[in-house]
């Protein structure tokens, strides 16, 4: 049996975790939910740090059920805690290597120097006292420390929240690559929808200790009935294929179901598949084909669903071709001015596309 199947029940004073979900055997599963919804608690249950009732099966191995409870240190997982929690008595390097040394050589699939390089830790690694690191520095060391156990399941509790966007942009690609290189599933807690959309393949939505939705990222994000649709950065994920490179402008054309998009030049061969994120607020609609605009990505599409977003906005679910979905967020005024309704064909102008390089799955 492949994939991860989890069911946990845990009662706390005011809080009740009653979660059941499955997640794919590979790829990144985002645990997403408001503060206090039980994300950390759920992660702790998976790690075995909480003795919840229930069961957990990871790629065919039972880590927990009525009879079994594999102790934490025997679970081949890496855990990045919400607070960095470095060992104060160890140097930065010793912190990094703590788990590495405790991983059998045959299972070591990443080397300290690799991780130090990825996470930009070279100038910190000889520091003696981790208490003197800045908040972001500490968090990067904690990430590296977890990676160096070459885990078969990686649990990350908001690992990037202490990082500035530049560091984030540097680390994200590695995290993206990582789970593919290591071929491991990752559970990723995050508040940031853009991080989630960029990284995750699968989404588990939590609310007050319960799983309110769980499914493939692009499906879940395209649902107008979920809280995610109301986010400022609501949007969809598009699977596409590299079709052409235009070196002069440093652009790449990717083809998707029902259309094509120009994106920044990709270092990937023609034919490879890529993933792109398109935010609802970046998609404007026009009833006629726009002319002379700096927006080069225009997709002909059909309106599938309209749903009010607050008092002034409307979320519009679009079909591009038969299967590709797109979300657009426009003002109610524009909807009325343009007379938009279900079934109408419109031109979706995509102002910007966030690209997640490399193939997914």
């Amino acid at each position: 049996m492949n994939g991860i199947r989890a069911r946990f029940v845990l009662h706390r004073d005011d809080f009740k975790l009653e979660s059941e979900f499955t997640a794919p055997a590979l790829g990144i599963t985002a645990l997403f939910g408001p503060s206090g919804s039980g994300k950390t608690t759920l992660l702790r249950c998976i790690a075995g740090l909480e003795r919840a009732q229930g069961s957990l099966n990871v790629n065919g191995e039972t880590w927990q059920d009525e009879q079994t409870f594999v102790p934490v240190h025997k679970r081949p997982l890496g855990y990045v805690f919400q607070e960095a929690s470095l060992f104060p008595h160890l140097s930065v390097r010793a912190n990094l290597e703590y788990g590495y040394r405790r991983t059998p050589a045959s299972e070591q699939r990443v080397k300290p120097e690799q991780v130090i390089d990825w996470l930009g830790l070279a100038h910190l690694v000889e520091r003696r006292d981790p208490a003197q690191l800045s908040g972001g520095e500490r968090q990067r060391v904690a990430i590296g420390r977890a990676l160096l156990t070459s885990p078969r399941l990686l649990l990350m509790d908001e690992p990037l929240s202490a990082l500035d966007s530049a560091s984030k942009q540097e680390i994200l690609p590695y995290l993206e690559h990582l789970h593919r290189e290591l071929e491991i599933p990752v559970f990723y807690v995050s508040h940031a929808l853009d991080e989630v959309a960029r990284l995750a393949d699968h989404l588990v939505l939590l609310q007050q200790g319960r799983v309110i939705a769980s499914g493939a990222l692009h499906e879940t994000l395209a649902r107008l009935d979920l809280p995610t649709a109301h986010f400022d950065d609501a949007g969809v994920v598009i699977e596409a294929e590299v079709a052409a490179h235009e070196e002069r402008y440093h652009l790449t054309r990717v083809d998707m179901v029902g259309g094509q998009l120009w994106v920044g030049l990709l270092d990937q061969p023609i034919g490879s598949s890529v993933r792109a994120r398109v935010l609802a607020r970046d998609v404007s609609l026009a009833t006629q084909m726009p002319q002379g605009s700096s927006i080069s990505n225009i997709l002909q599409s059909t309106i599938l669903e309209l749903s009010d977003e607050g008092a002034d906005k409307v979320n519009v679910l679009l079909a591009v071709g038969d299967s590709q979905r797109l979300l657009s967020r426009i003002t109610r005024r524009s909807r009325d001015l343009l007379g938009l309704e279900v079934g109408r064909v419109v031109y979706a102008q995509v102002k910007s596309v966030a690209l997640m390089q490399g193939e997914k799955r």
């Binding site: 470095l86 008595h89 991983t103 208490a131 977890a146 649990l155």
Partner: protein, 225 residues
Amino acid sequence: MGLSGGDLQAIWLTVRLASVVTLILLLVGTPIAWWLARARGRWKGPVSAIVALPLVLPPSVLGFYLLLAMGPNGPVGHLTQALGIGMLPFTFWGLVVASVFYSLPFMVQPLQTAFESIGDRPLEVAATLHASPLNIFFSVAVPLALPGFLTAGILTFAHTVGEFGVVLMIGGNLPGITRVASVQIYDHVEALEYGQAHHLAAVMLIFSFLVLLVLYAWRPTPRKV
């Protein structure tokens, strides 16, 4: 130095006794302290109280009861005789046993406090990094509790050096075997040999001060991240 051969012998014996006792208590007291620090159940209170009990017993009384227990008619005496060890009173190892008993709380209490103040997080982190419970203990708990170990070691060592009532009761004041410095100084005082008493006391004080100075200079403060 103005110290007689007997004085030097007494000092050496004292250092040896205190070292052996500290060592044994490190081995015995550490697991107890660790257990007490982590335990949550209903046994924690009673065990804590029992560990602290030797504190309350006056050393002379403790010594008297140990003398009874380890004597030929006491339970411990029966045991040691059955084991072929012979009788413990009036031997170095008798002193060791008595002192281990006597100084137990001085090892356990500071260690327990030190272990407790580590908190759960570092131990959880270590577990997720594949450290087994035993390994966590040695690679995380012990280093983080280092100041506590030093405090506990100093208290235990010093308390054994300063031990008197128990030794007097159970030691029989045998030169080179059980006549430790505290007894030696006392004998000087009782014999009105104040000069020699002053000398030995001064030497012990200065020596102890220097040792403590070195230890404290080296002692780390507990660390936080």
